[in-house]
C-alpha cells in the first residue's frame, strides 16, 4: 500500500493543475451539500431541540382571567398530570428601550413552577426584580443582560436574562415577550388582591395520553370563557409548515449536489484514465496488478478529495450558519450546535467517497484490458460519427459544437446536471422574487384594498364620496374557538356584500361564499381541523354563542397562517353584534394613497395601510430570501465549475486538434470562438431544458408544497428567464476565458 500511496502522491504532484481543478470541484460540491445539510438539519430538528431546551409543556391553555385558586383546582383533577404552572399574560403592553418601542408587548407574569422557556443568557426572574426578555427582542433591539427596558410607564427595569420559548415565533414576527416574576410584579403594582391568571401550562407524565387529557380538560373548563388549548404537536405543525418549503428545497438541493458531484467527478476521472491509458498499459506490461493500478487511482482521488471535502464542508457550514441561525432564531429555535457534526461528517464522507469510487472504477475497468490494447488506445481522438454536410460546417463555432458533441454520453450527463442545477437556480430566483412580492404587495395575498379606516359601517357612504376613493366595504373580524378541536383559534372575517371585491385569496376548492349558511375557510384552518368542502365548521364566539356553517370553499390565505374563515355578515353579527368593524377602502387608479389617507384622517378615522405578508413577517421573508439567494449563488458557482470542467476536458482531449489550429495561425480569439461553440452545445439545450423544467415541473411542485400558505406563481417570468440567460452567458464567457487562457499558455508543439 505504501508503494501505491507514494505513486499516487507523485501523480498528484506531477499534475498539480488537474489536481487543483478536481479539488476545486469537490470543494464546490461539498459546499453545496454542507449548506443544504446545515440549514435542513437545523430546521428539521430545531423544534425538538427548542422544546427540549425550554421544557415546553404538552398543553398550553389560555382563557379569560380567572382566580388562580379556581384554575389550580380544575387542573389538579386532570388525569396523568405531571405538573402545571400558571401565568398571567398581559397583552398590548407598550414596551420601549432607548429609541426602540412597540405597543403590542406581552408581559408574562410567571409564578412558581416550571417555566416552558429556556434562559439563554443571564438568569431567570426572581422576587428581587428585573425582567427577562425574549431573545428575538434582544437581538432586534440590540439589548443584552444589564440593559434596561420600560414596560408600561415603569421606570427602566434591569434585564437579568434572555429567554427562548419555541411555542411562538420570535419578535419581530410576533409580539415582544417580557417575563417578570409574580412577586416583583405584585410589588411593583402594589397588588393585594387574589392572584388572577389567564394561561396554564400542563406537563403530562405520559404524552401519549394527550387525547384523554384534552377531553377531560374540555369538560373541566366548563364555564371558562375565551378558552384556547394548544398542544405541543399543534405548535409544531404550525412551525414545521413554515419551514416545510425550505426543507423540501434543501432536500432537492442535496440531491442535485450529489448528482452533480457524481457526474462531474466521474466524467473527470474517466477522462483522466483515458488520458493515462498508455501509462496504465506500461504499468500492466511491467507486471503491476490490476488491483495496484486501481489502488493508485483511488488513493490519488482520496489525496485530492480529503482536503478539498474538508475545506468545502467547512465553507458550506460557515456560509449557511449565519442565515440558518437567523432563521432558527426567528422561529425561537436554538442552533444545532455539536449535533451538526455527525451530518457534516456524513457530507464529508460522501464527497470523499464519490471521487474515490469515480477514480477507482474506470481504472479497474481500464486495467482489465490487455496491455497492448492499452498502449495502442492511449491516443485520444475524435470518435467517428455522423458525416457533416460537406462545406456546411467549417466555421470554428460549429466545429466547437462538434467537438463537444463527440462524447455523447458525457455531453448528456453534463447537460442533465447543468440543466437541473440551472432550473434550480431559476426556481430560487423565482421564489425569492415571489417572497419579495408577498412581503410588499398586498394584492399577492388577495387583498384588493389599500387602506383600512377605523370607522363604523354607517360611515361607508361618506367615505365613498371622498375624492380618490373607488370603493368602500365594511369589514368585521373576530376571533373564535373551534368547537370540535378543543381550542384551535379561528379568525372569522365578514364583509358587507361580496368579500372577493376586497379580499380574494385564491380559491383552492369549492366555491366562494354564497348564502347565509356557508363559510369559506383558509387552507391552514382546513388542514388543522380536517375540513373539506361540505363539512361543518363549528366555532364558539367570545360570549359562548356557537356558530355552525357549511364549508363551501377553501382558499389559500397567508393571513393568520391561513386559520381564517370568511363568513356571512349576518351570521357573524348575530353571534357577536359588537364585533369590531372597519372600512376597507379601495383607492381609485391613479389617485394618491397619501391624499386619501389625509382625507380619512380629516373625518376622524385612524388609517392603516395594507401590507403584504410583511409587517413582522418581513424579517422572516428577508431571511428566507437571503438563504435562497445564497443557495442560488453556490449553485451558480457549481454550474460555472461544471461548464469549465467540460470545456477543459474537451480542450484536453482535443489538444492535438487545437494545436493544429494554432499552428495554422489561429490565435486566442479563434480558440475562444471554437470553445464558445463547445460551450453553446451544452448551454443552449441546458437553458431550454432548465426553463421547461422550472416552469412545468419544479415551479408547480413547490407551488403545491406552499399552497397551504399562499398561491405562489413560481413559474419563472420573462425577466427572470432573461436574468438566467444573462447569468449563463456570463458563466459561459468566464469558462471559455479561463480554459482558453490555459490552452494558449501551453506550447503549440506539445499538442502535436
Amino acid at each position: 500500500m505504501s508503494g501505491a500511496l507514494r505513486e499516487a502522491w507523485a501523480n498528484v504532484r506531477a499534475r498539480r493543475g488537474r489536481s487543483l481543478l478536481g479539488g476545486l470541484g469537490i470543494v464546490l460540491v461539498a459546499t453545496m451539500l454542507a449548506v443544504a445539510t446545515t440549514v435542513s438539519y437545523g430546521l428539521l430538528t430545531g423544534f425538538d431541540r427548542g422544546a427540549a431546551e425550554a421544557d415546553l409543556p404538552d398543553v398550553l391553555v389560555s382563557f379569560d382571567s380567572q382566580p388562580a385558586s379556581a384554575v389550580r383546582e380544575r387542573l389538579a383533577s386532570l388525569p396523568d398530570l405531571e405538573a402545571f404552572s400558571l401565568r398571567e399574560q398581559l397583552t398590548s403592553v407598550p414596551v420601549r428601550a432607548g429609541r426602540e418601542s412597540a405597543d403590542n408587548g406581552v408581559v408574562e407574569v410567571v409564578g412558581p413552577g416550571r417555566r416552558g422557556y429556556a434562559i439563554v443568557a443571564g438568569h431567570d426572574v426572581s422576587r428581587r426584580g428585573g425582567v427577562v426578555i425574549e431573545q428575538g427582542l434582544a437581538t432586534d433591539w440590540g439589548l443584552g443582560v444589564g440593559d434596561r427596558i420600560r414596560v408600561y410607564d415603569s421606570p427602566p427595569l434591569p434585564i437579568v436574562g434572555l429567554a427562548r420559548a419555541p411555542d411562538n415565533v420570535a419578535y419581530p414576527l410576533a409580539a415582544p415577550h417580557v417575563y417578570v416574576s409574580l412577586a416583583a410584579y405584585r410589588a411593583a403594582t402594589r397588588q393585594r388582591s387574589a392572584r388572577h391568571v389567564n394561561l396554564a401550562q400542563i406537563w403530562l407524565k405520559d404524552p401519549s395520553q394527550l387525547d384523554a387529557v384534552l377531553v377531560q380538560a374540555r369538560m373541566n373548563s366548563y364555564g371558562l370563557t375565551g378558552l384556547s388549548l394548544i398542544t405541543r404537536s399543534g405548535v409544531r405543525v404550525l412551525i414545521d409548515q413554515a419551514a416545510g418549503i425550505v426543507i423540501a428545497l434543501l432536500g432537492a438541493l442535496s440531491l442535485i449536489a450529489l448528482l452533480t458531484a457524481a457526474t462531474m467527478l466521474t466524467a473527470a476521472a474517466r477522462a483522466e484514465i483515458q488520458r493515462r491509458l498508455h501509462a496504465i498499459g506500461i504499468w500492466r506490461a511491467i507486471g503491476a496488478s490490476r488491483g495496484h493500478v486501481t489502488r493508485v487511482a483511488a488513493l490519488e482521488a482520496l489525496l485530492v478529495a480529503i482536503p478539498a471535502a474538508a475545506i468545502g464542508v467547512g465553507i458550506g457550514a460557515l456560509l449557511a450558519a449565519g442565515p440558518s441561525d437567523r432563521l432558527l432564531g426567528l422561529l425561537n429555535q436554538p442552533g444545532p450546535g455539536s449535533g451538526l457534526v455527525a451530518p457534516l461528517i456524513g457530507c464529508f464522507a460522501l464527497t470523499v467517497l464519490i471521487p474515490a469510487l469515480a477514480g477507482a472504477w474506470p481504472a479497474w475497468r481500464a486495467a482489465g484490458g490487455p496491455p497492448l490494447t492499452l498502449l495502442r488506445g492511449a491516443e485520444m481522438r475524435g470518435a467517428p460519427g455522423r458525416r457533416g454536410a460537406a462545406n456546411g460546417g467549417g466555421g470554428l463555432l460549429r466545429l466547437g459544437v462538434r467537438l463537444a458533441t463527440t462524447r455523447r454520453v458525457r455531453l448528456l450527463a453534463t447537460l442533465a446536471s447543468l440543466a437541473i442545477c440551472t432550473s434550480f437556480i431559476l426556481l430560487m430566483v423565482a421564489l425569492a422574487a415571489e417572497l419579495n412580492t408577498l412581503a410588499n404587495d398586498p394584492s399577492s395575498l388577495g387583498r384588493r384594498y389599500q387602506l383600512s379606516a377605523s370607522l363604523p359601517a354607517s360611515a361607508a357612504p361618506r367615505v365613498e364620496a371622498l375624492p380618490g376613493v373607488s370603493a368602500v366595504g365594511p369589514r368585521w373580524e373576530v376571533s373564535a374557538v373551534d368547537a370540535y378541536s378543543l381550542g384551535e383559534i379561528t379568525y372569522l372575517i365578514a364583509f358587507r356584500g361580496d368579500h372577493t371585491q376586497f379580499e380574494d385569496p385564491p380559491l383552492v376548492e369549492g366555491s366562494h361564499l354564497h348564502g347565509d349558511h356557508d363559510a369559506e375557510v383558509g387552507r391552514g384552518l382546513a388542514q388543522l381541523l380536517g375540513l373539506r368542502v361540505g363539512s361543518t365548521l363549528a366555532v364558539a364566539l367570545a360570549d359562548g354563542h356557537e356558530l355552525r356553517l357549511r364549508v363551501g370553499g377553501i382558499v389559500s390565505s397567508l393571513e393568520h397562517d391561513g386559520r381564517i374563515a370568511y363568513v356571512p355578515e349576518r351570521a357573524l353579527l348575530r353571534g357577536e353584534p359588537d364585533a369590531p368593524e372597519k372600512l376597507a377602502v379601495i383607492v381609485s387608479p391613479g389617485a394618491s394613497t397619501k391624499t386619501v389617507t389625509a382625507e380619512l384622517e380629516r373625518i376622524g378615522a385612524q388609517v392603516t395601510t395594507s401590507t403584504g405578508v410583511a409587517g413582522g413577517g418581513k424579517t422572516l421573508v428577508d431571511a428566507l430570501r437571503g438563504l435562497l439567494l445564497t443557495i442560488a449563488a453556490v449553485d451558480g458557482l457549481v454550474c460555472l465549475y461544471m461548464l469549465t470542467q467540460a470545456l477543459a476536458l474537451t480542450a484536453g482531449e482535443r489538444r492535438s486538434a487545437i494545436a493544429v489550429l494554432r499552428a495554422c495561425g489561429a490565435g486566442a480569439r479563434s480558440i475562444r470562438v471554437l470553445l464558445a461553440g463547445a460551450a453553446l452545445a451544452v448551454l443552449v439545450p441546458a437553458a431550454v431544458i432548465a426553463v421547461a423544467l422550472e416552469r412545468f415541473v419544479l415551479g408547480p411542485a413547490v407551488s403545491r408544497l406552499a399552497q397551504g400558505y399562499a398561491s405562489l406563481s413560481l413559474a419563472a417570468d420573462a425577466a427572470e428567464i432573461a436574468a438566467l440567460l444573462a447569468g449563463l452567458a456570463v458563466i459561459g464567457a468566464l469558462a471559455v476565458w479561463w480554459v482558453v487562457r490555459r490552452v494558449t499558455a501551453r506550447p503549440i508543439a506539445g499538442g502535436l
Partner: protein, 236 residues
C-alpha cells in the same frame, strides 16, 4: 544573393529541452537560410532535435537564443498575435500524423485554415484548386477515418497551402505512408519548391531527402552539409 530572396533566415539557434538532470542541449547554434524555390531536407537520428528545429522555425516554440526571420519578418521576440499572423499567412505545416480533425470532412479541414480571422481572401477558390490538383476531389466529402493515409496527407498538404504561404515546413511528412504515397508526397513538396516556395523537410529517411536541393545533417545540435543537389550556390 539579395537578402529579399531569403524566405527563412535563422542564426545561432539554441534550445535546451527537459528539466533537471534530464535537461540537454538539442540545438546549439544552428544557422539556416532558405531561399524561395528551394527545398531543404534536414536529416537526423531520432531525438537529434529535428522536430524541435522545425517547431522553432515555424514559431511553434521559442528558442533560448538566436534569431529567426520568415519572409523578412522577425519572429523571435514577436508577440503571440504577430506569431499567429505569420503562421497564418506565411507558413504552412505538414505533419507526420496528418493531424486532420476527425469531425470535419477532407474539404472542411482544408477550408478551416482559410476561414480563420485574418486569412487572405480567396481561400475557397484556392482550396478547390488544391484539392483538384492533389487528386482528392472525389473524396473531399469524406471524413479522415474514411480516407487512406496518402489521401489524408494530401488534404493536410492542401490545408498547409490554402493561405498561399511562402514557407512550407514538413515534419516527417512521409513517416506514416507506404512507398507509393511517400513518393507522391515528396514529389508534391518538390513541386511546391518549383513554384517558388521555400520548403524545409525534416526526416530520418535518406530516401525522402534525396529529392531536396540541399540535405543537411543535424548532429550534436548543429547543421552540417550532407549533400547539395541542383542548387550548389546555396549554402547552409
Amino acid at each position: 544573393m539579395s537578402p529579399d530572396r531569403y524566405v527563412l533566415r535563422a542564426r545561432g539557434l539554441a534550445k535546451q529541452v527537459g528539466s533537471g538532470r534530464a535537461r540537454r542541449q538539442v540545438l546549439d547554434g544552428v544557422d539556416l537560410d532558405v531561399v524561395a524555390g528551394e527545398m531543404v531536407a534536414v536529416l537526423g537520428r531520432s531525438g537529434s532535435g529535428k522536430s524541435t528545429l522545425l517547431n522553432l522555425l515555424g514559431g511553434l516554440d521559442r528558442p533560448d537564443s538566436g534569431r529567426i526571420a520568415v519572409a523578412g519578418e522577425e519572429i523571435t521576440g514577436a508577440g503571440e498575435r504577430a506569431l499567429d499572423r505569420v503562421r497564418l499567412r506565411r507558413i504552412g505545416f505538414v505533419f507526420q500524423s496528418f493531424q486532420l480533425i476527425e469531425e470535419l470532412t477532407g474539404e472542411e479541414n482544408v477550408l478551416l485554415a482559410a476561414r480563420l480571422p485574418g486569412a487572405p481572401s480567396g481561400g475557397r477558390r484556392r482550396a478547390a484548386a488544391l484539392i483538384d490538383r492533389l487528386g482528392v476531389a472525389g473524396v473531399a466529402a469524406h471524413r479522415p477515418h474514411e480516407l487512406s493515409g496518402g489521401e489524408q496527407q494530401r488534404f493536410a498538404i492542401a490545408r498547409a497551402l490554402v493561405n498561399d504561404p511562402a514557407l512550407v515546413l514538413a515534419d516527417e511528412a512521409t513517416g506514416n505512408l507506404d512507398d507509393a504515397s511517400a513518393a507522391m508526397v515528396i514529389a508534391t513538396l518538390g513541386e511546391l519548391a518549383d513554384e517558388g516556395r521555400a520548403v524545409v523537410l525534416v526526416t530520418h529517411e535518406a530516401g525522402s531527402a534525396a529529392a531536396a536541393d540541399r540535405v543537411l545533417h543535424l548532429v550534436d545540435g548543429r547543421l552540417q552539409v550532407a549533400a547539395e543537389g541542383v542548387r550548389p550556390d546555396l549554402g547552409p
